[in-house]
Symmetry: C2
Subunit: 235 residues, 2 copies
């Protein structure tokens, strides 16, 4: 009986095996930055897996910047030495699914930074779209409807206004995972709702005034409850 299937999906397992084999191959053949990997066909034959599996593994390593495949030419190891290559692949193989605490922790770190950057760099257009998101949020809340989505979009608008595409991307990656864990949200406590609106409003105004310190403070307050909530209920 396959033991490895119990925890992770079969797919992920074979994927990781291929990645490990690729690492070993790079070590064995002493491939250095810029060198060419064997062709996908050869690899699929050598590893006894389908070519699409090979392609998928290469794509993942390419996503992490460790490989670079050029059409009709070959797949090449990036400008990263063997030591780093080994270390990084080992880390990638050891990666587990992110737990909820890690997600929230990361989100708070990001939000406290992006709100400062947004206050500092926001254009008029940024301000406009944040305001729109805020209005949409208000309307939903006042109608006592579930406003999780509008809440989310408000925060993403801030991330976009931060002018840092990397943080923006990462925010996009983690937010839906958090949201889906949070659908328990829909309680229409009038006081709580009004509090949410006020906090969002204050964050917006701080960004508008370009007061970075105030923006950070207001965001901290806004997350205070969430922070407590998560650490108390989850694990």
């Amino acid at each position: 009986m396959k033991l490895e299937v119990l925890l992770k999906g079969d797919h992920q397992t074979t994927q990781n095996q291929i990645i490990a084999k690729l690492r070993d191959l790079i070590n064995l053949k002493n491939l250095e930055p810029g060198d060419k990997l064997p062709s996908e066909r050869m690899l699929s034959e050598k590893f006894e897996v389908s070519r699409s599996n090979i392609r998928e593994a290469i794509q993942l390593l390419e996503f992490y910047g460790l490989l670079k495949s050029k059409p009709q030419s070959g797949t090449f190891v990036a400008d990263i030495g063997q030591v780093a290559m080994n270390g990084m692949i080992d880390d990638i193989l050891a990666l587990g699914d992110p737990d909820f605490r890690a997600l929230v922790e990361t989100r708070i770190l990001f939000e406290l930074k992006t709100v400062r950057l947004a206050a500092q760099r926001r254009s008029e257009a940024d301000l406009e779209s944040i305001k729109n998101a805020l209005e949409a949020y208000k309307e939903k809340v006042l109608n006592c409807e579930n406003a999780v989505q509008e809440d989310l979009l408000f925060h993403l608008a801030i991330a976009k206004a931060s002018g840092n595409s990397t943080m923006n991307t990462f925010m996009l990656m983690i937010t839906p995972k958090i949201i889906t864990d949070f659908e328990k949200y829909h309680v229409c406590d009038k006081g709580q709702a009004q509090k949410g609106i006020t906090e969002h409003q204050e964050i917006f105004e701080a960004i508008q005034k370009q007061d970075t310190q105030l923006a950070k403070e207001k965001m901290k307050i806004h997350f205070g409850a969430l922070y407590q909530y998560c650490y108390n209920t989850k694990e």
Copy 2:
């Protein structure tokens, strides 16, 4: 003549077009969380693109947590409402390649946090692997060899010790991109090298002592030069 090809690769372009069409379809058909998308075959026919293109687009949206495809069953929209779905897809389509400033900015944010978390949570095993990375780094530097890789692995070991898998993953994503932009590193200035060793050593000791504040301070010092360097030379 195709204008859109000038900036981005053809591949990325068609990919984005498919994603936009998927968004429009979800809006048109009024698909709600949990609803099933048309099959890949139908989509490829309807959009007049190959099925592999469709699959790739779906995989990307799945990566961002917006879709979920079940084998032999279908692809479903995640537990995210239409408003959020639209907003997020628009953001994803607007994503550009990260610039160097954004990368460095994000890295510094991460490192200042992970070093604190590492100081707080590191196990003995974590400490051991950080120490090993430090020793490897020292040896290379003292031999006046290029130690960029060992430098990198030291920082990744700290990220791993932070106990936050999300931040660890993100660090893995951005680090190689930074490294490749930094191969200009290989100057053997004895003073500079000794400084690097000292800084790393001090960070390690702070983590060992579990002094979170000190760890953060030492990391800040370590990045001081880099920060200046990047902002002065690049754009």
